[in-house]
């Protein structure tokens, strides 16, 4: 079309057909906005496709094969890997351990985190420093945390048993006994993560309008009643958030078991992720490990759904 083409078309001349006024097809505003939105979102979409959805798809594909899908020869096995996983006693054991670990860490983080937040929400001297000290372990790598706690808990050279011995108390093999290994692992993880829960609760506490407490005081509510009938209900969304995020995170946790106990003693701390990791990288049973990972995905989805149903109450200020 020449320079004057637009005008020619508009005038209905130049093509041998007079009459019809043909306007260029215009893209609607809605479409143009959608196009711009997708254009701006495209880096994120590409990122998620390449680094999340494609690997997830590949993982699901691998879960349908026996042998060594991804690295070597494999044979299509349908859902055999899933059936094997559901019948495997070690899988059931590791699911049980993982649920106990996730519930233990989540409940303890919520209770202790909330307690600390309530305490540190008051005008006490040095509270900023105390908050920073409590939050600090959250930003440390678990490798460092593991090394530190292994040194502290060593039954023969560790400082904890030395202190207990000095006080005339019985010493413990914290990580070497089935009865204490998992609670110890939970305690270490709570120590590391509680600062995060505290921080979120602090933000939530500071967003509750002071008028509510004033009104409750005028009505004669004690501090305990104020907490029970004002603070706690208004913190429900925060508690839901922490519960969901912490549960999902702890169900996927690998580091404490891998770095501190290697799943022992006698599988007492064998978290599900460690079981999957070892099936994939040590046994080279990659199809089976992929099926296990998908089963965990479904379990996390189900638990999250239940948490939302139980805790998602509408709160209005």
């Amino acid at each position: 079309m020449g320079a004057g083409g637009r005008e020619e078309v508009a005038a209905g001349i130049g093509n041998g057909h007079p009459t019809a006024l043909r306007r260029p097809r215009r893209v609607s505003l809605k479409t143009r906005r959608a196009f711009v939105a997708y254009l701006l979102l495209s880096p994120a979409i590409v990122y998620f496709i390449v680094f999340f959805f494609y690997p997830i798809g590949l993982e699901f594909w691998a879960s349908l094969y026996s042998g060594q899908p991804l690295i070597g020869e494999s044979q299509f096995a349908g859902f055999d890997n899933y059936m094997t996983a559901l019948q495997d006693a070690r899988v059931r054991q590791s699911v049980f351990v993982t649920l106990a670990f996730a519930i233990g860490v989540t409940v303890a983080s919520i209770v202790i985190g909330l307690g600390l937040a309530v305490l540190l929400n008051r005008p006490i001297p040095g509270r900023a420093a105390i908050r920073a000290i409590i939050f600090f372990p959250y930003i440390i790598s678990f490798v460092i945390v593991a090394l530190m706690w292994q040194a502290i808990l060593d039954p023969y050279t560790g400082i904890l048993n030395s202190i207990l011995a000095e006080l005339g108390l019985p010493t413990q093999s914290w990580l070497s006994e089935t009865s204490t290994a998992l609670p110890t692992l939970i305690a270490i993880t709570v120590w590391k993560d509680v600062g995060y829960a505290m921080l979120i609760y602090l933000a939530a506490l500071q967003s509750i309008p002071g008028d509510f407490y004033d009104a409750a005081s005028i009505d004669g509510a004690s501090p305990a009643q104020q907490f029970r009938y004002v603070t706690w209900p208004l913190l429900t969304p925060t508690t839901l958030f922490i519960a969901v995020v912490s549960t999902i995170s702890q169900l996927q946790e690998l580091a404490p078991a891998y770095l501190i106990t290697k799943g022992g003693p006698a599988d007492a701390t064998r978290l599900f992720s460690l079981h999957v990791f070892e099936a994939a990288f040590f046994e080279l049973n990659i199809g089976y490990a992929s099926a296990l990972a998908f089963l965990m995905f479904l379990l996390i989805l189900a638990i999250t759904f239940v948490q939302f149903r139980l805790l998602n109450r509408e709160v209005s200020y």
């Binding site: 060594q68 690295i71 050279t157 070497s176 089935t178």
Partner: protein, 413 residues
């Protein structure tokens, strides 16, 4: 450093890398164990780079489990390193999965010049083969034996180390006083094999396709260790998840009279406590004198981009001079027969005594490895042994259960 200097440094480095690539510079990637990065090997790598202008060696060091994770991912991405040091067992495992380059053609070309396989201990060659095909070359050959604190034994009235289980028990009990213990067992699964092997137990019988660890001898062996810890209170309780260095650290700190370890702990003990009066004893004997063999082999992945150069570096790393230099530096024992015959090696009381165990050391999972189910069964065994040693469960109950589970895995497809 100012931002401009930092920026220039980055730009300079980037340009340098770009120019090097344009000039045809090549990189040979080598995976190595962090604990074995001896100066002797560093010198070999420097010489390799000097002899191959334009080549550089990227010498990446890992702990074994981390290396395995990375290697499996590399295999999946078809981007493996050129040369890998492995801790024993991986050569056959990855060879079976067609992930390694067979070395027969290279050995046919250079084997005579480097003395391979004739100058290597026979089982160090066999553990790196599948049928007639070579997939790896042993670089360290080790075994574990009894290491003892001479002064602690003397204080307890013993002038010589124990030679049998009965003597060992007597010494362990006598040297356990106050905060010191007679023995510190290692929680890593390989170390339990000293006891099994000394009681005449093998891991697996290829004829029946079953494990042998539910035998009365196997039960007796592991129960002996458990009783030493819990009943006799003459040994430390192993710490779950701890690395293999725990007993060595207690020994170096003069808190334990005896440990079972190999030449890999010579350097840490010597550097950790130079004044410690310690010695290496022959392995204990119950039904027979035995111990487990270990060691490191070198392998070239099938998808290595530079197999010829990797083989050249491999030859240099396993040369006798390099072996002797690594022994002198770190006390490591080696697979060459000519190394064992070296007068300096034979004269060294520590290295010589470790070397003396090599002829009766056994590669315990050799037969089981060929089934391709070794890793899975080893995990079950670790759990079973921990039930006995950590939880004090009776070996007579745990070992038959383990054997039944392991045999079911072996019988499955």
């Amino acid at each position: 450093m100012s931002w401009w200097k930092t920026t220039r440094l980055f730009i300079g480095t980037g340009l340098g890398a770009l120019l090097a690539t344009a000039a045809g510079a090549e990189t040979l990637t080598v995976y190595w164990n962090a604990g074995h990065a001896y100066q002797a090997y560093s010198d070999v790598i420097k010489k390799f780079e000097a002899d191959h202008p334009g080549w550089s060696v990227r010498w990446e060091k890992f702990q074994w489990p981390d290396m395995r994770t990375k290697l499996v991912v590399d295999f999946a991405a078809k981007n493996p390193p050129d040369l890998v040091a492995e801790p024993g067992g991986w050569v056959q495992e990855f060879g079976q999965k067609d992930l390694l380059r067979p070395l027969n053609d290279l050995i046919a070309k250079d084997g005579k010049a480097i003395g391979f396989p004739g100058d290597w201990q026979a089982y160090a060659v066999e553990r790196n083969k599948l049928g007639d095909q070579y997939y790896g070359v042993q670089i360290h050959l080790t075994c574990a034996t009894l290491v003892y604190n001479v002064d602690m034994l003397k204080e307890a009235g013993f002038d010589a180390p124990p030679a049998t289980w009965e003597e060992f028990l007597k010494v362990a009990k006598a040297t356990t006083t106050g905060g010191r213990f007679g023995f510190a067992p290692n929680p890593s699964i390989g170390y339990y094999w000293s006891w099994f092997l000394q009681n005449g137990v093998s891991y697996y019988d290829p004829k029946t396709n079953k494990v042998n660890l539910d035998s009365p001898e196997a039960i007796e062996a592991i129960q002996f260790l458990s009783d030493l810890i819990h009943k006799e209170k003459a040994a430390t309780r192993p710490v779950t998840g701890a690395d293999y260095e725990g007993p060595q650290k207690l020994f170096t700190a003069n808190r334990v009279a005896m440990i079972i370890t190999g030449p890999w702990d010579v350097k840490p003990i010597r550097s950790g406590n130079p004044k410690l009066n310690w010695a290496v004893a022959p392995s204990l004997k119950h039904k027979e004198q035995a111990t487990f063999a270990g060691g490191v082999s070198l392998m070239i992945p099938k998808d290595s981009k530079h197999p010829a150069e990797a083989w050249d570096l491999l030859k240099r790393l396993v040369a006798l001079d390099t072996e002797l230099a690594a022994t002198k530096e770190a006390g490591m024992t080696m697979p060459r027969k000519s190394w064992a015959e070296n007068p300096e090696i034979q004269a060294d009381p520590v290295i010589g005594n470790f070397g003396a165990c090599l002829p009766y050391a056994q590669d315990t999972p050799a037969a089981l490895r060929l089934t391709g189910k070794h890793a899975r069964i080893d995990k079950l065994l670790q759990s079973a042994l921990e039930q006995i040693v950590f939880n004090q469960a009776p070996a007579a109950e745990v070992m038959p259960k383990f054997a039944a589970e392991a045999n079911a895995i072996l019988a499955s497809n």
